[in-house]
């Protein structure tokens, strides 16, 4: 099926993944370097009877997808840098009201307007804590187009499974780079549809009463069950409550439903990791350089491997600890000031053996950049 083979940008691969996952509704606002996602969906969505709308700002786009999700649709928005900042308010709303939605953030340099057309991975912590208050979040990432496609499908599946916003943390290099994508046949990747209530008309439906497994069956707006959705702490009917027990139980539920499933949510790849003395931990476009270096070092007999993270939040602590347990040193390769490195230091047995190989100057980190640090750690000089 040569129709299924494409040579496209990462942003387009994300759109292909969203279409495969069954996206029905997109709202967005133009911003570099994510705009291609909106452009392509403005063409593709109406072709399949879906809806695209360009809203007046990033805030409104985030609000609109939440509204559309409540009528039973699979929804997404895409943004970057300052736009991701603006989305935080309604992103918190989606956490609190438990609305499935996917938010793409094609990272660019920051803070503020920063570097719109250049690469960065500086929004790792913003994805985790950008919106106010305690909450849990799912954030996925990818280093190549096949994986961009797959994690996008995953993002929709996880959003529907856990009734939560899922963030796709891509970066400018992955978003704009062109490479091959093979679109899987229909059914090759399983799709998740949201759990809908089986409570019949006339029977009291509790939209916010979790089942034993923590899941909440939904009822679409426009259906037989009329209920309240709010960003306030709320009871099992969705009505505002400041009862301390209700508040505590809801917050625990919001955090536990994700943190307790970290093993199911975690996505990662191993490259040359077998018996590695030096473990490189990376993700997104910087992982490409890390993988290149590891391959190169292995060819010279050095035991260097890469743990490529594809899910950043919830942070896969147990996985990282296990994969780093036999390493002489761990080098976190990322394009920020050490946002994932701090997470790695917090969960490995010996944090003093964790180092940062980074670039924060608009440019993609190169294998040579990483090699320089590796040789210094090895005591071999540059």
């Amino acid at each position: 099926m040569t129709d299924n083979i494409k040579f496209i940008q990462g942003n387009e691969a994300c759109v292909e993944g969203a279409i495969y996952a069954g996206i029905d509704f997109y709202a967005g606002y133009p911003i570099t370097p994510s705009t291609e996602v909106a452009e392509l969906l403005s063409k593709r969505l109406p072709e399949k009877g879906g809806k695209f709308i360009q809203m007046e700002d990033e805030i409104a786009s985030m609000c609109a997808i939440i509204g559309a999700s409540l009528t039973g649709h699979k929804v997404m928005t895409a943004t970057s840098g300052p736009g991701f900042s603006l989305k935080q308010e309604a992103l918190g709303y989606a956490c609190m009201a438990e609305i499935p939605c996917v938010i793409v953030n094609v990272q660019r340099g920051g803070p503020s307007t920063g570097n719109p057309t250049h690469v960065s991975q500086g929004d790792i912590n913003q994805a985790r804590w950008g919106t106010h208050g305690d909450h849990a979040i799912i954030a996925l990432t990818a280093s190549n187009h096949q994986d961009v496609f797959e994690v996008t499908v995953d993002a929709f599946n996880l959003a529907e499974t856990y009734r939560t916003p899922v963030i796709l943390l891509f970066d400018e290099v992955v978003g704009h780079m062109r490479e091959k994508l093979v679109i899987p046949e229909k059914g090759e990747i399983p799709l998740v549809d949201r759990l809908r209530t089986s409570v019949r008309k006339g029977v009291d439906y509790h939209p916010y009463l979790p089942r034993e497994d923590g899941r909440l069956p939904m009822s679409d707006f426009g259906g037989e069950h009329r209920y309240n959705v709010t960003g306030l702490f709320h009871d099992m009917w969705g009505f505002p409550s400041n009862n301390p027990k209700v508040v505590r139980e809801l917050l625990h539920h919001l955090v536990d439903k994700i943190e307790n499933n970290v093993h199911t949510i975690t996505r990662y790849k191993e490259h040359y990791l077998e018996g590695a003395q030096y473990v490189l931990i990376s993700y997104g476009s910087s992982a490409r350089s890390a993988i290149h270096l590891a391959k190169n070092r292995r060819e010279r007999g050095e035991k260097v491997g890469v743990l490529e993270l594809q899910s950043i939040w919830p942070f896969p602590e147990a996985l990282v600890r296990e994969k780093c347990s036999g390493a002489r040193a761990v080098i976190v390769v990322e394009m920020n000031m050490g946002q994932v490195m701090k997470e790695v230091k917090a969960c490995v047995d010996d944090p003093s053996r964790v180092f940062l190989a980074n670039r924060i100057d608009n440019k993609l980190i190169t294998p040579t950049n990483i090699k320089t640090l590796l040789r210094m750690i090895q005591g071999r000089g540059v």
């Binding site: 392509l40 063409k43 072709e47 007046e56 409104a60 609000c63 997808i65 559309a68 009329r226």
Partner: protein, 287 residues
């Protein structure tokens, strides 16, 4: 049906202060819905944050209590994704026109079919009486101890300029008129704005020495006049009430349906180039 069939009695008594005009507006809105015979399952009420916004919790519709100022943006997502639903969007004055001002003018510009009700009590009540963009010049508020120097918006003129295809004004005092206007606004296909002047005796009234709820409602009666009335002709300083604009204009969801039709046809005919050109200056070709 009786009014009680439209409310969630489980959540009463409501949280508004004694004398607040918002309960009257809720009543008027529910009577309008009842007289129109609308199916409750087809109604979504979306609101923002503030005293006015709590209205959505009390009604037995699908209700979406959202973020401050963002009710219309959420409503746009609901409506465009399921156009057969009827959207009612009650908002306070600060909610609709300060933090929500951008969403307000753009929803009007799109002419998307929903009814925006601005429950205008000229004050931020829930946070304790700060001035709003509708307080007007020379008023007192907890953030204007020396009186305001801000001018206010005229909701009607602003809505007309922004492109709303139905624009009306009434007051909590003129409740029968409000019911009639709300019915017409809901029936109207397009973006409808109904400003209803409401009273906040607790903050606005107290701060500005306008007396209790009764005298504030008398003020609504005495300072407004029906469009086309002799009273208004005689005294143009009175605030006009009635329907200012009611025009047929292309509605957003219906227009999008046409886009879907064109896109599907083009896709079937395979006339559309599937690739996206991303060089500067080139955009995705439209079907």
């Amino acid at each position: 049906m009786a009014i009680k069939d439209y409310i969630r009695q489980r959540y009463f008594p409501q949280m508004w202060c004694p004398g607040c005009g918002h309960g009257i507006i809720l009543n008027a809105l529910l009577r309008a819905v009842d007289e129109m015979g609308l199916d409750k399952n087809n109604i979504v009420m979306t609101s923002g944050i503030g005293c006015s916004a709590r209205i959505s919790g009390y009604v037995d519709f699908h209700s979406l209590h959202t973020l401050h100022g963002r009710a219309l943006a959420f409503a746009t997502g609901v409506k465009l994704s399921k156009p057969e639903l009827t959207l009612l969007v009650p908002m306070g004055d600060g909610d609709a026109l300060a933090i929500g001002g951008n969403h307000f003018i753009h929803a009007a510009r799109r002419n998307i079919d929903m009814t925006a009700i601005v429950m205008n009590n000229r004050i931020y009540g829930m946070t304790g009486g700060q001035y709003s963009p509708l307080s007007g010049y020379g008023k007192k508020a907890t953030t204007a101890p020396y009186t305001t120097i801000d001018n206010d918006f005229d909701v009607v003129n602003l809505s007309i300029a922004a492109g709303a295809s139905f624009v009306a004004r009434s007051t909590a005092y003129h409740v029968l008129e409000s019911i009639d206007i709300l019915k017409k606004a809901i029936q109207h296909k397009g973006f409808s704005v109904v400003e209803i002047l409401s009273q906040c005796p607790t903050y606005y009234g107290r701060k500005n020495k306008e007396g209790d709820a009764v005298s504030m409602m008398e003020f609504q009666k005495n300072t407004t006049a029906k469009l086309g009335s002799k009273a208004l002709e005689k005294d143009p300083t009175l605030i006009p009430r009635g329907i200012f604009v009611d025009v047929d204009a292309p509605e957003y969801c219906q227009e999008y349906d046409k886009i879907v039709e064109r896109a599907m046809k083009a896709s079937q005919n395979n006339r559309v180039d599937q690739t996206l050109t991303t060089e500067a200056g080139h955009t995705c070709p439209t079907p």
